[in-house]
Symmetry: C2
Subunit: 412 residues, 2 copies
């Protein structure tokens, strides 16, 4: 059994829109064990859409279309499906009732154009759309199944979840479920993880795979089973084994960001935080400040490039900087301590990193960064052989700094 996606919309061809609907549909189909073999984009043109539908029916068991179900003449999916399956388009009083009810609910008047949306190919199964005005439908032809969905991502996702996936599982007797769980790590390199779980990565069900981002690596566990609970059980068993190896390097799962997990930990612990940055140029503040509701926990901080600024804004004594140098653990420790009083925060993090010419995460000139965290039972001091202010360096330094606080709170 395999499926294909047909997305309609001239904007998808003009290269001005990135098609995220297909990404979502592909993932959901994979979860129920339906392989996706083709994905076609076509403009808002009835003839060409009908052509790709006909070609799709020659090669796939299921075709899912998105878009082209609106009320305007540009919306050609209804006509194209009728044409591709040699059916009449018929007015459905039942669909029209649904549309009228929806408009009444919103206190709006349907236009004459909305009547178009009450037409379906003969024999089609309507899909009620409680989250929008465009009704969708399924045509079960002898050659294959065509399922039409709206192009609006929110509506499409709702109908995939509530109608299409249950329908496909039932209709095609799909007993296999494929589920995935992503464990998110920080502060450990991809090659180290690869080494630690190499044997797990050769197993076939669940499979274990890695995806590296700048400064972070995801571990994806994917299981096939006959039910969701069986897949969950397989994943849970493998997750235990992965966690045994990587334990506290795993900070979260799914789409969780390190900064979200950290802010939650700070909130639960009743902590507040202020941050001093140099070479990361506001990247740490931004990652924290960007999280919704962070204001009660992240108390702010500063980006400073010079010794004088530290003296003036935090009161770090000139003599201390003169004695140990700007990029020193002593200065970082003092700055972190003073952050807590200046910003009224229980924790102060100072990240003093060099940003000399040519310094970066990789390469010959790496620079160095001194980090201090004050406010827990004992001060935490670290030196990293890293510097520079490239984007990569900013991501690397900010991730490492956030992870340092996480580990310190967990007493690791």
């Amino acid at each position: 059994m395999h499926a294909e996606i047909i997305t309609t919309g001239t904007e998808l061809l003009l290269g001005e829109t990135v098609d995220t609907n297909s990404t979502y549909i592909a993932r959901r189909l994979r979860e129920i064990g339906l392989n996706l073999y083709y994905k076609t984009s076509v403009g808002d043109n009835e003839e060409r859409t009908a052509l790709v539908l006909r070609q799709g029916l020659t090669r796939s068991d299921v075709i899912i279309t998105t878009g082209g179900l609106g009320p305007t003449v540009d919306d050609v999916t209804r006509q194209a499906v009728a044409r591709a399956t040699d059916r009449e388009l018929l007015f459905s009083p039942q669909l029209w009732e649904q549309i009228l009810a929806r408009f009444a609910h919103w206190n709006r008047e349907p236009t004459e154009n909305n009547r178009r949306q009450a037409f379906m190919p003969e024999g089609a199964i309507p899909i009620e759309n409680p989250v929008g005005t465009a009704p969708c439908f399924i045509v079960e032809s002898e050659q294959g199944i065509i399922i039409t969905l709206p192009g609006v991502p929110r509506e499409m996702k709702y109908l995939m979840e509530h109608n299409v996936i249950p329908y496909l599982r039932e209709r095609l007797d799909l007993r296999e479920i494929i589920k995935a769980r992503v464990l998110r790590t920080a502060g450990i390199g991809e090659s180290v993880i690869d080494h630690l779980i190499a044997d797990l990565m050769t197993e076939s069900n669940p499979t274990v795979g890695l995806a590296a981002h700048a400064g972070q690596t995801d571990v994806r566990i994917t299981a096939k089973a006959e039910s969701e609970s069986a897949a969950d059980a397989l994943i849970a068993q493998m997750e235990i084994r992965v966690r045994e190896r990587l334990n506290d390097h795993i900070y979260g799962h799914g789409e969780q960001l390190l900064e979200e997990v950290l802010l939650e930990m700070l909130r639960e612990g009743g902590h507040t935080l202020a941050v001093l940055e140099t070479n990361s140029r506001g990247a740490i503040a931004r990652r924290l400040g960007h999280v919704s509701g962070s204001a009660d926990t992240f108390r702010g901080g500063l980006v400073a490039l010079e010794a004088e600024t530290l003296t003036r804004s935090l009161g770090v004594p000139n003599a201390l900087i003169a004695q140990y140098g700007f990029y020193s653990c002593e200065v970082a420790a003092e700055a972190a301590r003073r952050l807590t009083s200046t910003y009224n925060a229980s924790l102060g993090l100072a990240v003093l990193g060099s940003a000399g010419e040519g310094e970066d995460v990789y390469g010959k000139k790496v620079g160095h960064t001194c980090v201090a965290l004050q406010g827990l039972d004992k001060p935490i001091l670290r030196q990293w052989d890293i510097g520079g202010s490239t984007n990569l360096a900013q991501i690397w330094v900010s991730t490492s700094a956030l992870n340092l606080i996480r580990r310190a709170i967990l007493d690791l």
Copy 2:
């Protein structure tokens, strides 16, 4: 004349990769007046790729493929094209020479697998690839033209630019060029622009269109002509008319970011800048700090949420805050002045914005923001009816603040 794109790669079907190659190719084809009618993605499977190639030849004049030209068994484009056009795959000593030369140049040894890459369908025209190892080719069949390109974006773009576009213009006698130029604005709403240039937007060549992003609107001028210079001339004439209406609201063009343009202006004027933020939570610092080479101009700054922090870190007198309130122009003006000395900067920008419950850019509770810029001939003070710390508010406040500095430097 119309074209289609076929992208190969299982990852494109699994929904884990966003296909940006097609976006680029679609734009370039549009520039030479070749309409794109279909775009198909297919996995790394010879039979299925050959099938979509065959179907493509029945409906399009030109097919451009990306991917599947590497040295592994997963790379099936060569075989699929041969199969779809009923040709033999032949070893090309000339291509093999090119591959060997490339490897020699890099001091690397080709593997036996690399020999696969020296095969082409009989009669194919080789495209030399000076930026990678995968040679590409063109097959001119009676049904249509198939052009194969690598999947690596850098290589694909190079070959589109240097080989494919010139080839298609020559071979298909495409005399029409479509060019576009984007003018970028800030600090002016889409609806205001729409009103100001409504008449220009009804013209047909060049066309003028708008694209709104959060807090910024782009004006795109698109011209068709028989040569690049003629298209440029049409665009230039329209640009003059657009600029007459929008003049200083246009800060740049193409992909230029407001922060890049501002940093360049600051650098040229010999200015340095420090910033105090509240509700934008580091968004201003981040936008400036993110630009490569910004360190000599952006001197840093702070995110502060409390009056006490302003007093402690910038020395803003307690009495002043008590008298006028934290979110006041008086406090902003004093803070901006003190920023310049604390951060050793010629300009100080203080943005004090309220972030009360439910405040946002739109909606009933808008809040308010006081902004002060010190260091130019006279201080600049502004009040905006805007507040909140949602992402939209952070983008809106940071864009408005950056644009305020730009306009102040231009003495607008």
